[in-house]
Symmetry: C2
Amino acid sequence: MASLKDVGERALIRNIIDMIRPGPFVGPGDDAAVVRIEDGRIVAGTDMVSFERHFPSGMTYEQFGWTAAAVNFSDMAGMGARPIGLLASFAMPGDMDESSLYEMVGGMDRCAEHCGTHIIGGDTKPGPGIIVGTALGSLDGRAPLLRSGARPGDMVAVTGRLGGAAAAFAALENGMEGCSLQPLLAPIPRVKEGIALSSLWAATSCMDLSDGLAEAAGSICRASGVGMEIRMEFIPAGGDVPKICSETNLSYTDALLYWGGDYELLFTFGRERLSELHSVGLDFSVIGAVTDGNGPYVTDGEERTVMKNARY
Amino acid sequence: MASLKDVGERALIRNIIDMIRPGPFVGPGDDAAVVRIEDGRIVAGTDMVSFERHFPSGMTYEQFGWTAAAVNFSDMAGMGARPIGLLASFAMPGDMDESSLYEMVGGMDRCAEHCGTHIIGGDTKPGPGIIVGTALGSLDGRAPLLRSGARPGDMVAVTGRLGGAAAAFAALENGMEGCSLQPLLAPIPRVKEGIALSSLWAATSCMDLSDGLAEAAGSICRASGVGMEIRMEFIPAGGDVPKICSETNLSYTDALLYWGGDYELLFTFGRERLSELHSVGLDFSVIGAVTDGNGPYVTDGEERTVMKNARY
């Protein structure tokens, strides 16, 4: 296989267009794509991933591409939107083998398929190994899930289980065998869950957890002007997390609160909706309550502390 | 002023959100933006620019930001779409002064304002100096301008004047004074012209010229399955182009056909629409005709040659 700079950008783009699944839209191949949407609103978000930060040893190019798509679809999930398209821009080293680029495209295309949509456009230029994705979504008439509607008295909940990405990273770094690496290498964006929360008009606020629980809780508190009391023992840890934390120097608190990389949703809702949320089969755990305080606190045993924000 | 890595990504994003013009939409500041559109279709395209390729000496950070936005709005113009939002992702060196980032954001915001829209979202991460923009557009009920509708017998035309970006680059490189640098440093995307062509249902094909006339002509010929005969003497050159070409080693042919960087539109239309296009005040020049041949040819004096494609 030739290297990217030998193949040339135009030929690479043609090859990529040939390999991705076609769908019911105009593009790729024109100046831009045209996508039909169901109501008068489009949801759009962009996120970038880089070899430097998001490509742990043990990850394949296909998984890196999957991740680049998943982080963007997770933003759609956090808004309660149904993905209707993905644009993908690649800034990759000229000496990279062209097959590696196609593996990344394949991973993005498969993640798009998993989320019910298609790659509709993109760009490729020389660079250090960065994928910038832009996801488009439709609300199909529903209200978007925002960060700003949490009210004192609401319950705080998360989908799925947390800490899996951090634990998988530690397991890889320490050569531990037999641990689940899927949360790190092929994270599943919670698109169905976001749509369900939005369909039920149940969530008063919602955000995805890709930057960690502390970051998300802080963002909802700031946007809503509220506080949160979260109980450490209520936070659902992924199956391998306690074991990996005990056998590596990954702290259990860091894995659950600060490390990030789990594409779950943090959301708040009125207590009166709890049984309804359980009845629809949503996979979630209540981890605390919204207060009229200022910012998020976590209580671990006897100790109550401000959730510090690792990213600030 | 602090460097980007000292300020931190979250604080940078907050500062950026504070500085850009707010508009009638949800975001930035949530997982994604929500934008209202006029009909049931969204137009979306993405393009990236880099310090390495798109930052000639003499350009300011603000102009680099303007360019990053303009290249994306030019894609909207090529589709006949009205821009309704811009997402901007920055991959910038950690040791860059934060004021430089804000100047780039300011340039993007001003270009968005010029094109009647807003920055609605984005991301920032460490990187070598890359901006990835994604423009969203609305057709407001019009048909999109595609590359695939040119028919033998149609006329071939371009908006504005060509070669200005190449000439400005040569002027800067050679220290020539008093030349117009605007086509290179602050290109104007032809949004109004694209919308006019789409409103009139006049263009049978259209594409923006940012990769050069030869590249665009080749793309329309491929997509439409036609040929083109273009006459070199009909191509409208920017005012300083002949002078700069005569005083530097920039070839006049390269400036007009191959160099690129002019954010004009190439389009085709039925001959019967010519007087109508003139009557609406559109700034354009007929440069040739569509044929039933295969690919674009250019005739310069007595010599007729295949337009080679510099980017293939």
